[in-house]
């Protein structure tokens, strides 16, 4: 079912001139913290059950069921932590920023509910370093929430005080990977950890830790207020609820739009983003560059968490849709994406560190007109060998590089093969400037 009215974006009008920051007074005047109030009247276990029943899946990229993740926390081990993943560094992704810079208390209410349900000692909001202004907004909102007793209070019937702090990153994509985030939180370099142990057992400071994305947490007040059946009435059976989609690239009105999961990509592009700019649709990345690419014939792809198998991509990812028109040089596009991974690889695993750099060099060579016909298979071979799913790396960054390369090659083989013939002209501009 499609969305009747905005839910997560209910305080952020589509018209840019009308958007503003909702502080404590505005937030509470528009139904804010009612969800938390209701949650606190329920036993914590009931809140967890409600979230499990709602079918809420993580909005940070992996789509893991949120309630199920919470149930992995071992009983009665304290302190325990909540790490809020606001690293948001995947190219094409800006939804969390958009939400928090207008409606920061929506996140804080979600944090308070998750904390109440799981008896969290301390919540750390890990915000990426480049979000300077947003970190300021969050700090102010957190101070307001302390002043009004949302944080810094004991849970009823316990001695556990819940605190919430903003922790700023400093420019490293890999700190969005959950265990890289934890290392960074501890004041170390953001090198992802080998799992197990999983963070729910030994996470931040070796204590049980939940990691959730900003948008996942922002869904909680609505689920508590309106119930799991209401939440499931939106979206598809396996992908319930509303979802923020970020549209960028070649569209006339790039921005963040909210729709029920399962919405067609063509609807997002035409109804919300004002159509494709500068030409016809050629390709799109469904959810951040790690997910691979949707082909020209997949314009109407229905975007939910299970698009992976259906459309031969890695998944929905962050739902940051990057649209490319028919003027786009896909070899240059892929080179840009692979350069990103080569630059952001943390360097722990050889297949990732060497593989991304190698593929980047090859693509540079191909762009320069020195491609060889056998490069096609070679690129594919390197790509397929790297990642946590082939089992050669610690984290999923390498899988992202793997899927980007493999899907570009699989879905646009002619475009790549044409560039691998002798005597090619050098590619210069990614796109004819629209």
């Amino acid at each position: 079912m499609a969305l009747v009215a905005p839910i997560l974006l209910k305080r952020i009008p589509a018209e840019p001139a009308q958007r503003r920051l909702y502080r404590w007074a505005d937030y509470t005047a528009t139904g804010g913290y009612e969800g938390l109030q209701k949650a606190c009247a329920m036993p914590p276990g009931e809140v967890i059950k409600l979230v499990v029943d709602s079918g809420l899946r993580g909005r940070g990229g992996a789509g893991f069921p949120c309630g199920t993740k919470w149930t992995f926390l071992p009983k009665d081990i304290h302190p325990r932590y909540l790490a809020v993943n606001f690293d948001e560094s995947e190219p094409g992704t800006f939804k969390d920023r958009y939400l928090v810079e207008h409606d920061p208390h929506a996140l804080l209410e979600g944090i308070a509910i998750a904390a109440y349900a799981n008896r969290i000692t301390t919540s750390y909001i890990y915000i990426r370093g480049e979000y300077h202004r947003q970190a300021g907004i969050l700090e102010e909102a957190v101070a307001e929430a302390y002043a009004y007793g949302i944080f810094g209070r004991k849970y009823p019937g316990t001695d556990i005080v819940h605190n919430c702090y903003v922790h700023r990153g400093a420019g490293a994509y890999i700190c969005g990977e959950e265990t890289g985030l934890l290392e960074s939180l501890e004041g170390k370099r953001g090198w992802p950890r080998n799992k197990p142990p999983f963070p729910a057992v030994a996470g931040a400071f070796a204590k049980p830790t939940i990691i959730n994305n900003v948008e996942t947490l922002a869904c909680l007040p609505h689920i508590v207020l309106h119930g799991s059946a209401w939440f499931k009435s939106m979206g598809t059976p396996s992908s319930a609820g509303p979802k923020l989609f970020g549209l960028s690239g070649h569209v006339n009105q790039p921005g963040v739009y909210e729709e029920a999961l399962g919405v067609k990509m063509s609807t997002l592009i035409e109804k919300y983003a004002g159509g494709v700019k500068g030409g016809k649709y050629k390709a799109a990345i469904p959810g951040g560059v790690s997910m691979g690419v949707l082909g020209t014939d997949q314009y109407h792809a229905e975007l939910d968490f299970d698009i992976g198998k259906k459309y031969n991509v890695l998944g929905l990812g962050t739902a940051g849709v990057i649209v490319m028109n028919d003027q786009t040089d896909l070899v240059l596009a892929l080179r840009n994406i692979v350069r990103f991974f080569a630059h952001e690889s943390c360097g722990q695993c050889t297949p990732c560190r060497e593989g991304t750099a190698w593929m980047h060099k090859m693509l540079n060579r191909i762009v320069d007109g020195f491609g060889r016909p056998r490069d096609f298979d070679l690129l594919m071979e390197i790509a397929l060998s790297m990642g946590a799913m082939p089992g050669t790396t610690i984290c999923g960054l390498a899988d992202g590089a793997n899927w980007a390369v493999r899907t570009f090659l699989q879905k646009f083989p002619e475009e790549f093969k044409a560039r691998l013939k002798c005597g090619q002209v050098r590619g210069v501009e990614l796109t004819a400037t629209a």
Binding site: S89, E130, G190, I322, G347
Partner: protein, 192 residues
């Protein structure tokens, strides 16, 4: 994470008697951040953000001082600080221009923006103009792709960049002078 290691191969920097971690900074960090985490080491990023704001970069000597302050090995501090791109280990210009080069921005013309900056200011990414006014960097996605092409000027985001306008804005910044007609003193930077 970056593979650009040249910065770190420079010879050991000169010392100064006055510490970079002043008592004021130490007290501030100890009061605000130590209670937040079960281990002092976790205050490393907040501390370095504080130093970055104060000095514009992380001086080599501050790494030693931090190790003492947090009670960890110097190698641990070096290990962490060298990982994060925002913590630059060498001084930069008064205005650091971080131009996004990731896919959404490149699709919307970030290359033209960067080329124009290079042409007008005569610097490549990573370099600073001779008057120490402008440092140009190429960075990955800034999380503002709907405003592509975009760039940070120090901590402020500038979106929907149009090469000529943006360069004019930067020229105005770099030509800014104080009341007496001198070039404005670099703000918040003591060691350039």
């Amino acid at each position: 994470m970056t593979w650009l290691v040249e910065d770190r191969l420079k010879p050991y920097a000169a010392r100064r008697a006055e510490p970079y971690l002043t008592d004021a900074i130490k007290t501030q960090v100890a009061e605000k951040y130590f209670p937040r985490y079960p281990r002092k080491q976790a205050a490393l990023l907040p501390l370095f953000h504080r130093l970055r704001q104060e000095y514009g970069y992380i001086p080599e000597q501050a790494i030693d001082e931090t190790a003492d302050f947090l009670g960890i090995a110097r190698a641990e501090v070096q290990d962490a600080v060298s990982f994060y791109e925002e913590f630059r280990l060498t001084p930069s210009g008064e205005y650091v221009i971080s131009v996004c080069r990731s896919i959404s921005c490149e699709l919307c013309g970030s290359r033209a923006v960067l080329e124009r900056i290079r042409h007008v200011f005569g610097v490549d990414p990573g370099e600073t103009t001779a008057d120490h006014k402008i440092t140009v960097l190429e960075v990955e996605c800034l999380g503002a792709c709907e405003q592509a092409p975009c760039a940070l000027v120090n901590e402020d985001l500038h979106g929907h960049l149009e090469p000529d306008n943006f360069v004019r804005k930067l020229q105005a910044l770099s030509a800014a002078r104080d009341d007496q007609g001198r070039a404005a003193a670099p703000t918040g930077r003591t060691h350039i």
